[in-house]
Subunit: 376 residues, 3 copies
């Protein structure tokens, strides 16, 4: 792949400085670029590392001449430039155009035009896939599933039956969409049901065998969703589990059956959302966040890494801790815990002082003394 | 799939009301049913949403006539009815009867009758599989593994060599049974071994290379066990890792080598159980619970979401928090932490008051004052 | 597989006692050995269970004669002996020598000598694989990836394009190396960026669509690394994500894009390391540990299970808790929390006593009383 500086600037919607005809072959970290590679160096620290005569993407207010550059692209928001730069040079996985002869595709399935379908892919009956799908080796797609255009499914992603997936959806290796929900029932009330009702009391402990509640609902995934490696989204019981347009889901995330996740959310690595929970739009959950079942997390909630959300969270709240509380409450609580040794010392000293105060009034035995003597 | 109201009632072991010959084609949420779909509406809130002239499964004490229904099935325990209803209509994944021509099956393997084995399945030497197995695409089964009857293995599940699996076991996509245990040793005592012995002290820090302890033991999985998508159960070192009959394991759960998990347990999403730990019968671990290695969790323990169990837990205990404590202790501790700001204020006020009490007695310098002056 | 006692002793670098010509066919737990099986019994508790006339590996200072053994191997460090014993008898997975006819290998790929490549393996263009590779069914290897000698890749492991993997690397089932990093940007500053700058304040909540930052960097994995079942290591943005020589990574671990993990580390099950974090050498992270993005964890750090590391950790530190603190600080803090009920009682009693002290001085209304009256 090769672009000129001028072409790359255009792709980044930015202006360039210097020789616009220079060829750019790829990107490298500042100071590590070999011939033809461009570096992103939008902070002074990175700019310092640039070799004289090199090419760089720099901040709008930097001086490419003073940095000794041969050519530069000047950008306003560096991370946005990074998106454009990496998109320009990403060749992605290698999936040959057309349908690989080893793929097993049911004759009733409809594959859109310009598809690239890799070896050992299995596509069930009644499946419909939009145009320009890129489906890598070992992907399976169950019967009657419908997939939009421009799908990119990496090796070994598994999509079950009766799933609906929008346009431009990316599934990473081993991602699972539409496995059965984890839903069971005991013939009589189970220990967990009792605990939930009584907050901890059980009248007796009984045998309990789990009977499966099957998952008839599928999964509906909106446009521009991305699902990380080995992440899992379970199918709903009666209606579909849903993930809204534009939501990004990282590796090893688990979304339980019946959940409804809104639009433009970001769920970081190893997040777990238990069944039947609703998550609003633009919610950001940091790595290893947990969300209980059957609750509601409002729009624009942000939860820091490892936050455990047990109860409904109102829109816009910034959460931390386990159990999750407002960020400032959590910070305050942590401070209070750290200060406890001092508090213990202060109280011990107070007790000593007050004891002396009491002692100094002869003939007046305090209640405290009396109680101490009772114990003796 | 099609049942009459009368047939479905019989399947649910319940009585029906109204026209028993009506055809039921599927299920939908209350108020969303189209023609031929039945709704489960066992609470007043759901019952209100039912359209007049529709079919519903309702609670025993509801009046189908007053609800304007055409037909109804009256049930005692709604979640149990849900199990029967969804089972009746679940067509499951599509796996054609017989053995797909692309499957690679060692000639020495024995496959029971009425098997359905999908494309690209790989079955090793000496494997024995019971009757009516349904094994989807891309499943691998290692040499000498023995599997009971009525197996349902979803795409891409991986079963290693020398594993024993009971009847009616379900493996979801990407589940791994029998990968090597995570067990290593350093030639000399490692930092971790020192820390465990001394609770935090290390005499010196040394180089440490990890030597692998191989896993000769397999895995034994009882009847009616279910293992979620991308969940993992490692093989034992000398003897097998074991999961008892009827235990249900959710997506992305990790069970370490040598663990013994009892019967009828429920391990929710992303639970992790470290090596050589024993878990009793009917234990329920909520999502993201962690259990340390080499400990014992008694029968009927219930641990809420994100509980981290570091030490043995006696039978019947209800646990919460990290480190796990009795539920009521955890609730109390959280309350105590929340009340700390008030406690800090009270102690500050007390100190002020006591200081004044001391000051008001002329000629008597308190120890406290003396110490304060020392600092001045 | 069969060894004599003398041969096994030599393999363990230990001396034997008794009949060195006895055949050892396998290993079993003490007291469970059948004919030809040897037991490891290096503690008195295990030694007691040994059957008379059996074979055992025992501790150096034990007396095989008194234990009634027929043959024994005497070892200094039992876990090291366990490594040797299990290695001697591990036949591993079954992968036939040569390249299975169903494998799809690009003609430009170079496969080293004595390879064993299983069914349905897919190897892309320009891939180079060293000698003696054992690659099980359904493994995929993307274009231009380079792999050292003696690879052991279990079924369904996925290696993306442009990855570099050292010698003797083991990938367990479903492991993913080189999926795209989880890196997105919004056109304007996102809510998360604001929160990070202001520690909790957002001026307003806006629409935010996530634009993908593509991952051009690959992954570099050193010699002797092991990656667990369904674990994931994402590719870097511009430069490679790196895992150093000898590091062992357990099941379901997530390593984010751009991370640099040192040598001889041990990352236990379900650990998550967020993007761009650096981890030193010989670091041990217990199960479910979380590490924030863009921080540094020094050499020889040990973090107990479920520790959540939010900030830089200096070399050699032993960490516990969430947020992670020094082990002794955590233990102290937990104790302080447990003792709070007593502290609350003491303060309540003090307040009562001080109130009485104040009351006993007629005509002197304390500030405290005055304030109480203000509220009335």
């Amino acid at each position: 792949m090769q672009l000129t500086i001028a072409e790359l600037a255009r792709a980044l919607d930015a202006r360039f400085w210097g020789d616009g005809d220079l060829a750019v072959l790829g990107a490298a970290e500042a100071g590590q670029a070999s011939d033809g590679q461009i570096s992103l160096a939008t902070t002074p620290a990175y700019a310092e590392r640039l070799a004289a005569g090199s090419m760089a993407i720099i901040a709008e207010d930097m001086d490419p001449d003073a940095l000794g550059l041969k050519a530069a692209i000047l950008v306003r928001r560096p991370r946005v430039a990074m998106a454009g730069l990496t998109r320009a040079f990403d060749r992605g996985p290698e999936i040959a155009p057309g349908i690989h002869p080893t793929a097993v595709i049911d004759p009733s399935a409809e594959i859109g035009k310009d598809a690239a379908i890799g070896p050992f892919v299995v596509i069930g009956s009644g499946v419909r896939i939009g145009a320009r799908a890129r489906i890598a080796a070992h992907v399976t797609i169950g019967r009657d599933t419908v997939i939009g255009s421009d799908a990119l499914f990496h090796p070994g992603a598994h999509i079950a039956h009766e799933i609906v997936i929008g346009d431009r959806v990316i599934l990473h290796p081993g991602a699972s969409v539409g496995a059965d929900g984890f839903s069971f029932v005991t013939p009589e009330k189970s220990g967990v049901e009792q605990i939930r009702e009584t907050l901890g009391e059980r009248d007796e402990i009984r045998e309990q065998h789990w009977t499966r509640i099957h998952s008839l609902g599928g999964v509906e995934i909106g446009d521009d969703v991305e699902l990380g490696a080995n992440a899992t989204i379970d199918r709903g019981t009666i209606r579909a589990t849903r993930v809204g347009r534009g939501t990004k889901i990282d590796n090893l995330v688990q979304i339980g059956h019946n959940c409804i996740v809104g639009e433009d959310c970001m769920l970081c690595g190893q997040v777990g959302v238990a069944g039947s929970t609703r998550i609003g739009n633009r919610v950001v959950l940091g790595g290893q966040v947990g969300v209980s079942d059957n609750i509601f997390v409002g729009d624009d909630v942000i939860a820091g890494g490892s936050t455990k959300i047990f109860t409904n969270a109102p829109a816009g709240r910034v959460l931390l801790g386990s159990p999750a509380v407002k960020m400032e409450t959590h910070v305050e609580a942590q401070k209070n815990i750290r200060r406890l040794p001092r508090l213990y010392a202060q109280v011990a000293e107070l007790r000593e002082t007050v004891k002396k105060l009491m002692e100094k009034r002869p003939g007046e035995a305090s209640e405290q003394d009396a109680r101490s003597e009772d114990k003796g």
